[in-house]
Structures are given as structure tokens and as C-alpha cells.
Amino acid sequence: MNPYRRSWFVRIATVLVFIFLYAPILVLMLYSLNASRANVLFAGVITRFGPVQTEGALIVQSPCGPFHWFCELAKNREVGNAAKNTLIIAVTATVISTVIGTMAALALQRYEFRFKPFAQLSLYIPIIIPEIVMGIGILVLFSQLFTFLNGAFHLRGDSQLSLGLFTVILSHIAFCIPFVTLVVMARLQGFDKSYEEAAMDLGANELTTFRRITLPIIMPGVLSGALLAFTLSLDDFVITFFTNGPGSTTLPIYVYGLLRRIITPQVNALSTVWILVVLTAVFMIQRLQNRNV
């Protein structure tokens, strides 16, 4: 039987589900060209180029034509700052949580030690805990800690410890680690130890064995875990809101705040840019992968 055979039922269902997945994305992108500032109904596209002219809430002319909102977005310095912060946090949290999480996966899958059941159980907490509870809990924790440390070391003014990029990154690492660990653990299951034993027999020490045998084999799992961590960190709102400080606003916080007050097409423009950047990045990674194969 052809292993690639898929019935017509499956094909049609797949197409329908993909339409379901992408309908909102397409609507979002369409509305970024909306001529109506209120962005409640789609009022057509701006067709005339020139200085900005409005008729009520409709923009009938713009220097950027239909891409008026993208130009508005470009003038928006808050977005640039938020995007920068979001990326810094996501990349840092992903790298650190992947390293730590992989180490934990190795420990839990291969070793026996005291507190092992406790460690396993604690991994599930970030998955079941409501975000607002975690957010406020961490905020209280940091506050007490900073108050104590600031007092003990007599730190004042700008040199005192306070909420900021650092605290956000720490919280993100905390909720990313368990996901990385679980994914890598899944990959470690059924891992054939004989490769490692063979390497050690040939004289390699633990570190070399890990680097040249173990790591390459579990790499797909590690990368999946990293991808998951990155996705979670990129989109986090609640925890970031409570643990961030002045100047460390992220894109989700900025967008969520904006959406709740003024839903101009500028937000749609931001989403469209975001999607295009992601698509381009994915596309580039695909190209790189195919070249390496």
C-alpha cells in the first residue's frame, strides 16, 4: 500500500482546517489596509496619494496610499523599543532555559538521586498554574527580595535593585524550563546507550562523549524545546506585565494595551509586519536547511 496515500476525506478536511487556521490571519492583514480609522468595518482601501485628507473617519488620501498605517507604524518609536525588548528577552530566556532544561532532562531521565520525585513534580507547576497567580507571586517575591537587599547594601536612587528587563528574563526562564525539559525527556526515551558506551570504550571522556555522541542525537529534541520556549516567551503578557519595569515594555504588552483602547489599523499593520518577518525568517531557515541536507 502506498505509504503516502491519503483519502479524499482527509484531503478535504485538511484544506478546511488550514482555511480555519489562516482565515483570521488573512482578515488581519486585509484590515491593515483599511481606510477607516475606527477599524470596525472594512471601508475600502485608500487610493489617492498625497497629503493626508480625511472625510470624517475615512482617510481618503495619504502620502503612502493604501499603506498609510505602515507609515504611521514606522513613525512609532514605542513599537521599535518594545520589539527590541521582546527579542532580547525571548532570545536570552530561550538560550538559558534550553541549556538548563536539557541538563535537567538528562538528570531526570538517567540518574537517580534524592529529591528526584520532587523535581519531577515541580516541573508540572508552570503548566498548571494560572499566569496571574505566577505573575503576582513572582512580583511579591522580587519586591521583598529587593527591599531587603536595597536596605542591606544601602542602595539608593538609580543604583537600587528594581524590576526591569532582568526580572522579566528570569521569570520567562522559569516558565520555559519545564517545557524544554519535557520535550528533551521525550527524546531521551528509548535512547540507545550503546553508542555512548562504545565511545567511552574508545577512550573518550564524559564531556567528549556528550559533545560528539549524545548531543547530536538529542539535538532535534533540544531544538524543538528551544522553539517551544521561544514561542512561549514571545507571546507572554500576564507574567511580563507584573515583572517588568520602566523601559522594558514588550510587544505583547504594548499591543494588548493598544487593542483595549484604540483599535486603529496600525495594530493590524504591526501584525502584518510581524507575520511577514516570521514568514521570511522561517523561509530563510528552510532554505538553509535544504542547502545543508
Partner: protein, 390 residues
Amino acid sequence: MKKSNIWTLLAALVLASLLLAACGPSGGGENVTSSGFVCPEPENKVALTAQELNLFVWTEYIPPDMQECFELVYGITVNRDEYSSNEEMYAKLSSGSTTYDLVQPTDYIVQPMIRLGLLQKLDKARLPALENFDPNYLDLAFDPGNEYTLPYEAGTDAIVVNTDAVENVPAKWDDLWKDEYAGRMVFLDDSRAVIGVTLQSLGLDPNTQNPDDLAAAKEKLSTLIPNIKLFDSDSPKSALIAGDVDLGMTWTGEAFLAQQEVASIQYVYPEEGAVLWQDNWAIPAGAPHLDAVYAWLNYTNQGNIFWMMLRDFPYTNPNQAALEYAKGNDMKANDVNGNPTTLGAIYDAYFNSPVTNTPADAIAKGFRIEDVGDALPLYDQIWTELKGGQ
């Protein structure tokens, strides 16, 4: 070049240009903002030791020109973190040590914040800007003598109606209970405001802590809630403009913006009294950059700066100096859509709208939401019960 190389290069270019587009063009020359506004000099300029100012404010509530002018004139960076509800701000400030210099609490949350020691007293000697305000907005019950707060913007919660879609325009809160409005209304998702309005319509104290009164309000509200199509405290105008609802309860800014989109939308001050509210500046207890704080408060409340609020945000403006500055002023400026107009025209639009320029009798009949201390969970329980029974 190989085909795949070309694609990769193209992709990199797209990525780069998109990222670059995120960084826009920076401001013009000395003390001119990126929109072309020439920043006036501060009336009481002080030398600052602080390098930055940390604002924790409502989303989209400060004119970009205002912030940019302050940064240009004083040469320091303004960091702006935002929140979308007083409760979020309160939760963050009360849970821990933050380093914000200024916050914008609404009237009802000022007392709880003072009691918790979250705010510090204003040093009036450093605030010549205090004279710029209309006395009607000063010395209010939630902060007698303005020990802790300065007014920012004020407004009302009242009835909004699309007169094209609704035959009988309601005149009081009580009218909204009528069957003809069933399934056509949007209300604020605000337990205090909605229960308060219900109490008011029953002739009771809208800030009561009396369980019997609250039971009566709950009883009455239980007949209204099923008729409400949606609750929205974020952007109720969307549902109105889209035609999802025909009338409801909303606040000043939303009604004004909805009116601009759909001219038949009207704002009605109910006979029993609308909700009055006021947003204020307040200084958190641990603010690290006090000199910058006072510089900001004095500079932004100058008449020749604060008039921007008339253009950018359709709320009631408590700053008398700003109103006097804008009235009849021929100075050219861009309106909120970027079309050229004059300050005088902006003032007229503000003054002539009963939405932004609340009529005196509406203010007289109106009531404020006040802190109810221990009774707050009771309000919330009622709210949850009424909404949860779906």
C-alpha cells in the same frame, strides 16, 4: 548566482527593511517635534540632576508631542510603561517595589492608595502649575486640598444612543430596563459603575455599603443583565459603530469618537445623574527622580502645552490656562487627523460639544464612584452572580 542564493538575499533584504521600518525617522532640529510642533520654553525652568523620568500611565493618554517636547527641552529620556485599568496599576504598585515616578489614578482608587502609603504628598511650593486649574476640579472629596493629586482629565459615564436605530431615545437610566432595548445594548464591564447607576435609579446611595440596598440593586439589575448584549470597558464604541448594538452605557471619549464615525450617535446625560470621574497625576512613594517629576508637572500643565489634550483626547479639560490659551487663538496647528487648522477651531470643537464640555446641570446631578472599603467583594460577588448565571 544560484537561484536559492537570490531568494536568500531577497529574503534578507525584506527582513532588514521591515526591521528598519520599525525604527522611524527621528525628530527635527532644536526643540521641534517630529510632527513639526515648535516646543515652547518652560516658564519655570530648573536644572535637573535626573537622567530619566519613569511614567506609568494609561494606554494612549499622553499626546506624543507633549512627551517629545519635554524630552527635547530638558534633554532627559522619558520611559513610559502603560496599563489599561486602575486595578492593574494598583495590583502592581501594591504588590511591590517599583521605580515609577508618576502614575495616573482615577478618583476612586486614590484613597485606597493613600491609605496603603503608595503615594507621597505633593510639595505645593514646587508646583506653580497648580494655579492653572479650574477650581471646580480641585479640592474634591477623594483628595481634599489636593494633597496627593493634580487633575489630568475628567469625564462622565452616561447613556449613548444611535438615534437612527432607536425610536424612543432613553432619558434616564431607568429607561434602559425597557423591553424594547433587549439584546441591543452595550454596558461598561464595571461592577461599581453599573451597580452604582442601578442604586441611583432606585434613589439609593450609589456608594452604599448597606447589604439591603445592595440586595435591592441586585434584584433590579437581574432583570437588566440578560438584555445586555455585551460588556466592554475597553472599546465600547466598536460595537456601536459596527451596529452590533444600538445603545448603551459608555464614557465621554468613546461617545465622542463614535459620534465622529456615525453622526447619529448621541450622548444623553440621564435625569437621575451621570457618573462623574476624574483622572489625576500622583507621585508614588518611592519615586526616584523627583526633580524631573515636578519639572514634568509644571511644564506639561502650561497652557501652551496642555491645549494638545483638546485636540488629541476628547475628554473634559480641567486646565483653565490651556482653555484660555486655545480660545480664539489663530496659531496654526494640525488637527487630530493631521489636517491644518487653528487652535481656536480646536477649542470651538471642544467647547461646542456637550460630550466634552459637560453641561453644568449634568455635573450638578452627577455622582462620583467612591471607595467602599470592606464592601467591595460584596459588589464583586453580586456582579459575578448576575453575570455568571448564563
